[in-house]
């Protein structure tokens, strides 16, 4: 009984493998590219967060991370130029209906990141945290309106 069950599970996972790779191949390069642009922003604010919340002796790196975030934010409008909200993406069609607002939000992230980059590297954690929250608020502002809620996210169906 147990053996059969294991066999069943194993064959199930083998069958699922090619399906997974098909799903990945199905991803439009436009989606794939813009997801990487967004991930780079997440990676940098995540790195800044790590330095601050774990008190890592890497506070000198924060301006560089913030600068990378600022530059990536400047790429958002061009990365999202092609209207594509179907398939494995969390982009809502509202992006292209309210394009000016979407661009404005990207500009807000650019601005907040520039402010973070300009902060003195020896600022105390609470001061940094307040500015990081401002950056996070610009992420949230745009996600609230233009990203599918996690219940509808393509990741749920993967």
């Amino acid at each position: 009984m147990l053996k059969k069950l294991l066999l069943l599970m194993l064959s199930g996972s083998i069958l699922a493998l090619p399906m997974l790779s098909v799903a990945q191949q199905d991803k439009d390069p436009v989606i794939s590219y813009r997801q990487k642009v967004m991930q780079s922003i997440g990676a940098n604010i995540g790195a800044i967060s790590d330095v601050l919340k774990y008190s890592l002796p890497r506070q000198d790196n924060i301006p560089a991370h913030a600068e990378q975030m600022r530059r990536a934010a400047a790429l958002i409008p061009s990365a999202f130029e092609d209207e594509l909200s179907e398939g494995p993406t969390d982009a809502k069609p509202e992006i292209w209906e309210s394009w000016d607002e979407f661009q404005e939000y990207a500009g807000d992230l650019e601005q907040a990141s520039a402010e973070l980059a300009a902060m003195a590297a020896d600022s105390d954690t609470a001061t940094f945290a307040a500015q990081v929250k401002k950056v996070g608020d610009t992420c949230k502002q745009c996600h609230d309106e233009f990203r599918k809620p996690k219940e509808e996210s393509y990741k749920q169906n993967m």
């Binding site: 997440g42 604010i45 790195a47 967060s49 601050l52 774990y54 990081v132 608020d137 219940e151």
Partner: protein, 301 residues
Amino acid sequence: MGPADAHRAASAALVLCALLAGWLSPQARAQDNAGEAVSRGEYVFRAAAGCSCHTDVRNDGPALAGGRAVETPFGTFYSPNITPDPETGIGGWSEEDFVRAMTEGLSPSGAHYYPVFPYTSYARMSRQDLGDLWAYLSAQEPVAQRDREHEIWWPLRWRRLLSGWKWLYLDAAGPAADPSRSEQWNRGAYLVNGPAHCGECHTPRDMLGGPDTDMRLAGTAEGPAGEAIPNITPDPETGIGNWRTADLTWLLQTGLLPDGDSVQGSMAEAIDHGYANLKPEDLEAIAEYIFSVPPVRNAVE
């Protein structure tokens, strides 16, 4: 005016000053105390996630004037106006009315409130915090806006059924104190199970809409307003067992998850309107308590 007159006028002025001072100072003192209660109350208000369910954020509604739809399996509830407007809000209430509503789920006229209003958690709050919160709410801008009627399954309109519900669940929130634990743990338990009312969304509900106490804080795919609510017990696979304390306090402070993504939905709102304003030691206390609850295996998908 002769010197005698001037003398008389001066004495009269002195007496008047003395009288005024005597009359003013207790008044001023009372105002001072009220001011302190309001500012303490603001902190309690933040710990309660800024009571943001009472603001119709989605439609840019006025702060705390209610009208926000909360969809549940039992129907759609609309939050009431809790501004101090005497006609449509809670301006005509006494402090005792407020305490009774918060801890017993009863309106000033004695009608039962539906448990979509998290009084099971607020029942854990101290009398001091409730009084301060009342002072804060009473000091807010009154907004005249009538409450909207709930759109719920008709047998549930018979509110007397709720006395049975309360008998089952009024005491079902997690513990607010345990003398065998540290002071910090106790503070965390009080915040999590009382004002911050974490379990109201993070604990799944049973068929009667009461908290499923075996699944405390284990999340649910069918949370309020159709949101998927994550498991926040310290289970390493399906919960937040592989987070560090700083990951949780940082999230509550900034709204940023360990992977750098911004948290979504009503949690983002609760952080923004509330938890981000808490003192670092309170965030630490919340984390200590959360990481001490029994881990529950429950993958929310």
